[in-house]
Amino acid sequence: MEFFSHQTNYPFMATRKVWYTLSALLMIVSLGSFFLRGVNLAIDFTGGVSAEASFPQAANVDRVRASLTAAGFRDPSVQNFGSSRDIAIRLPPDPKQTGATIRAQLETALRGIDPGAQVLQLDVVGPQVGNELKVSAIEALGFTLFGIFLYIAFRFHTWRLSLGAILAVLHDPILVLGFFAITQMSFDLAVVAAILAVIGYSLNDTVVVFDRIRERFEGNRRSPPDVVLDQSINQTLSRTIMTKVVTSIVVVALLFLGGPVLKGFSAALLIGIIAGTYSSIYISSAIALDCGLTAEHVFPTVKKAALDHLP
């Protein structure tokens, strides 16, 4: 079985304006919603109380909300979660209350509605912890991007390829952020972990394409760069698609079977993987081309003899 029975020959470079426009549109929408709506930060970052409770019968979200407000909780957010019998409750931070008192009050309030109600999970995060997690998440993103920039600069001797890789890598987390801003899905620590993994995976594809570009340039120094780039992408296309299909299979399994805890995490991975595949096929090489990439940049004439020994 093969996705492409013959060697494909899609004109990626000639059509790059179309893909640039598509990417630009997606990024504008993503950044726009990110700055206008923001993401729905989980209590990991805001501090506060998050609880999961289950009822023997379908839970009436409005009644739960009313009963929590009556019990003295300020702005409780109540949603169905997983099934109609399970609810997720979120409360703003209140340092005066501890987990124990909150649990007692919650249970009293919920059992007033249905004596069989049970609090399954209760998380209380202090505001300072939330702030620190926010800072360390941003730090983690920063360090990852920085590490990857260093690696690219070291690995691809020309800034033209580096810039292409970096822009493609920035492209993907922005789309993930946009997705979370538009859907307002809960943005928790696991999503940050997923975004970091996405950065790693997305670059992975770009690197495989670039590796092939290097190889093609070595063999065909006189070919025009756009032809070499098209050939490289086409030759690695079946690998790119195949790997991403398989990775998507497992991520879809996580999304549908992994339960609510992994929902945000798997959604971020799925969006990120799709965006990453797109950007490494359509964007990263095209940018290098527009920066004037030629064989000379990858294999300067003087160094050719030394590089011949490399695989």
């Binding site: 079985m1 093969e2 340092p95 005066k96 501890t98 987990g99 124990a100 008192t101 649990r103 049970q118 609090v119 999970q121 998380d123 209380v124 995060v125 202090g126 505001p127 300072q128 912890v129 730090e139 983690a140 360090f143 990852t144 590490g147 990857i148 620590l189 696991a190 972990a193 970091l196 993994a197 790693g200 995976y201 670059l203 992975n204 594809d205 690197v207 495989v208 590796d211 190889e215 030759q235 079946s238 690998r239 195949m242 790997t243 299909v245 398989v246 990775t247 299979i249 497992v250 399994a253 996580l254 549908f256 079977l257 992994g258 339960g259 805890v261 992994l262 995490f265 798997s266 695989p311």
Partner: protein, 624 residues
């Protein structure tokens, strides 16, 4: 011909064999168990194990197996009713009840042979087994100021002995928390003062100056000393928390330092945090101080003028204002035990101090016979107030004189506090013991997962893992035919190797960790795909099958190495900066890259060479 060096075959085989052994403990599952630990934290002896086991047999409780693990006896049962019957039997026996703490838990069904080799399954995180997670903030600043108070006391004593007049010795004056300020009387001999202070303030940096009130000597702790003191406070808190956690009778609790000034406590199986936090979170310290009987507390209240060297307490548990000398005779961290008991005069609290405090106490009681001494309980709690519409959390210190008693004799490190009601004695003993926590700590994060939710999480995680892997295996076999099946075997080996590594380092398995394993399977495919697509390309070029295999591996190598390094960067950053389950995910991701490189590059090459290497006539490859 396709060849592969023999040592590489041996390496692959040996690694996989070892991995199988290390991963094996994970497949046996868990049985209900009873954990029996000695109350005095001593290790349970094999003789004691015998005793408990024959006791259970005598009571007709069936058990599977008993063994000692890390000084605790674990007894496995076939069913939960057996487990509960055993617990009730052991707790119902007076002797056992006084010597042991029991906890119901789960124990891995690992066979004896594997356990003897020290092999254990991956421990499950709280999100998979249910339990309570608490993060405590330790107030290290007060640990430092406590140490300085000790120095200040020594300084006062040294100056008095050397007959140098001073106005006051204060800690943390002028907002400098790590400094003692010694205000001498005008005209005092600064040089003499310095030499008198040299010994008691050894190690501190002394600087002399003067202000309108007279000469001043300041002594500051160095950064290293401050850090050392902070570390000490954290360590002491961890020890205290461990002891208290043991009192809770929770199996496999984790108490560990997190970052600079935090301690995280993980209590599997515990649901309600109220009881736990009452025991763990009593944030208090103690100070034994002499009462200032030369001045009147009532007068001080009326005039608002407190004599130098004393401190006024207005609202106290003893029901009257009291003036106490600033010198601290003993502090909570010097208290080694406080138990309630009986004396001739009724209920009493037996107090035992460490040697240093004992010396101090001896000196004090000798000089102050029949004078009153008081115990101050200092409790810290966070309080939030609204300032300009913004919430600000700051710490409130409640100081309360919980007891004052006349010194009836000369004693050092072992004495009784009497004149109490029965309930009071118990409470005072508890308060004193609670005060032995030297440095205040308060919870800043708390997460509780119910056991059913934990079960649910692990079921969902495992289902996703199995379904995801099955789908990948099927897809690979369809797409690459025989080569796909080889890739599947390699992927399976990869999972075994990953599980072995994670078990070896006792990595706690969390739900994101399971997701990480599945993701690793998805990504480990990549290396195989890179190789197989190369092989296909070579075949299209008309290269012979065996040469195509060789070229496939060789040409794909740089792409595989490069692409894995990028993921490795993300994994390592997450590992370093992440906490809890996220760190578990990062560990899986990072290890997974290493194992998938090994299995895809060496494992699959060994397998393919074995399959195709020796064939003289190989017309085509079953690579789809």
């Amino acid at each position: 011909m396709l060849e592969y060096p023999r040592w590489k075959y041996i390496l692959v085989a040996a690694v996989l064999l070892l991995a199988l052994v290390f991963a094996l403990p994970n497949v046996f599952g868990e049985d209900p168990a009873l954990q029996v630990a000695a109350k005095d934290h001593s290790a349970v002896t094999p003789a004691a194990e015998q005793q408990v086991e024959s006791f259970l047999t005598a009571h007709g409780v069936r058990f599977e197996k008993g063994y000692i693990d890390q000084g605790r006896l674990m007894v496995r049962f076939a069913s939960v009713p057996d487990q509960l019957a055993a617990r009730d039997a052991v707790n119902g026996n007076e002797d056992f009840k006084n010597t042991y703490i029991t906890a119901v838990s789960f124990a891995p069904r690992t066979p004896e042979v594997l356990r003897a080799l020290g092999l254990k399954p991956m421990p499950l995180g709280l999100d998979l087994r249910g339990g309570l997670y608490l993060l405590y903030q330790v107030d290290v600043n007060s640990a430092v100021s406590q140490a300085l108070e000790g120095y200040a006391t020594d300084a006062r004593r040294a100056l008095t002995t050397a007959n140098i007049h001073f106005k006051d010795v204060t800690v943390g004056a002028g907002g400098q928390a790590d400094t003692i300020r010694i205000q001498l009387e005008p005209g005092a001999d600064v040089t003499a003062a310095r030499s008198a202070l040299n010994q008691p303030l050894q190690g501190l940096g002394l600087t002399a100056s003067s202000d309108s009130a007279g000469p001043v000597i300041e002594a500051a702790m160095t950064t290293a000393q401050v850090r050392e003191r902070e570390d000490y406070a954290i360590q002491q808190n961890i020890t205290t928390l461990r002891n208290r956690v043991n009192e809770l009778g929770v199996s496999e609790p984790i108490v560990q330092r997190q970052g600079v000034d935090r301690i995280n406590v993980q209590l599997p199986g515990v649901q309600n945090s109220a009881e736990v936090k009452n025991i763990l979170g009593r944030v208090a310290t103690l100070e034994f101080r002499l009462e200032d009987t030369q001045h009147s507390a009532l007068e001080a209240v009326q005039t608002g003028r407190v004599p130098l060297g004393s401190k006024l307490y207005t609202h106290t548990r003893i029901g009257r204002p009291i003036l106490l000398k600033r010198e601290v005779i003993a502090t909570g961290d010097q208290l080694t035990s406080a138990t309630s008991g009986q004396s001739q005069e009724g209920p009493a609290v037996n107090v035992r101090l460490d040697a240093r405090a004992g010396e101090n106490m001896l000196r004090t009681t000798k000089a102050n016979l029949n004078r009153p001494m008081a115990v101050v309980l200092i409790e810290k709690r966070p309080e939030t107030v609204e300032v300009d519409g913004k919430k600000v959390t700051h710490e409130v210190t409640d100081e309360d004189v919980i007891n004052d008693a006349t010194i009836r004799g000369v004693f050092s490190n072992n004495f009784q506090i009497t004149g109490l009601q029965a309930g009071e004695a118990r409470e005072l003993a508890l308060l004193l013991r609670a005060g032995s926590l030297a440095t205040p700590l308060y919870p800043i994060e708390e997460r509780a997962v119910g056991p059913s939710l934990g079960r649910d999480n692990i079921d969902k995680g495992v289902t996703a893992l199995v379904v995801g892997m099955a789908a990948v295996f099927l897809f690979m076999a369809l797409y690459y035919q025989v080569f796909g099946v080889v890739a599947d075997l390699v992927l399976l080996a990869n999972v075994v190797l990953l599980a072995a590594l994670l078990s070896m380092v006792h990595q706690v398995l969390s739900l994101p960790g399971i997701a990480g394993i599945l993701l690793t399977v998805g990504m480990a495919v990549d290396a195989n795909v890179l190789i197989y697509e190369r092989i296909r390309e070579e075949i299209r070029k008309g290269v012979s099958p065996q040469a195509a295999i060789r070229a496939g591996f060789e040409k794909a190598f740089s792409a595989i190495a490069d692409s894995n390094i990028t993921t490795l960067i993300a994994g390592v950053v997450l590992w370093v900066l992440g906490t809890g389950p996220i760190r578990g995910f990062a560990a899986v991701l990072t290890f997974g890259i290493a194992t998938s490189m090994f299995t895809s590059l060496m494992g699959s090459r060994a397998l393919l060479t074995l399959m195709y290497g020796g064939r003289r006539k190989l017309a085509r490859l079953a690579i789809g």
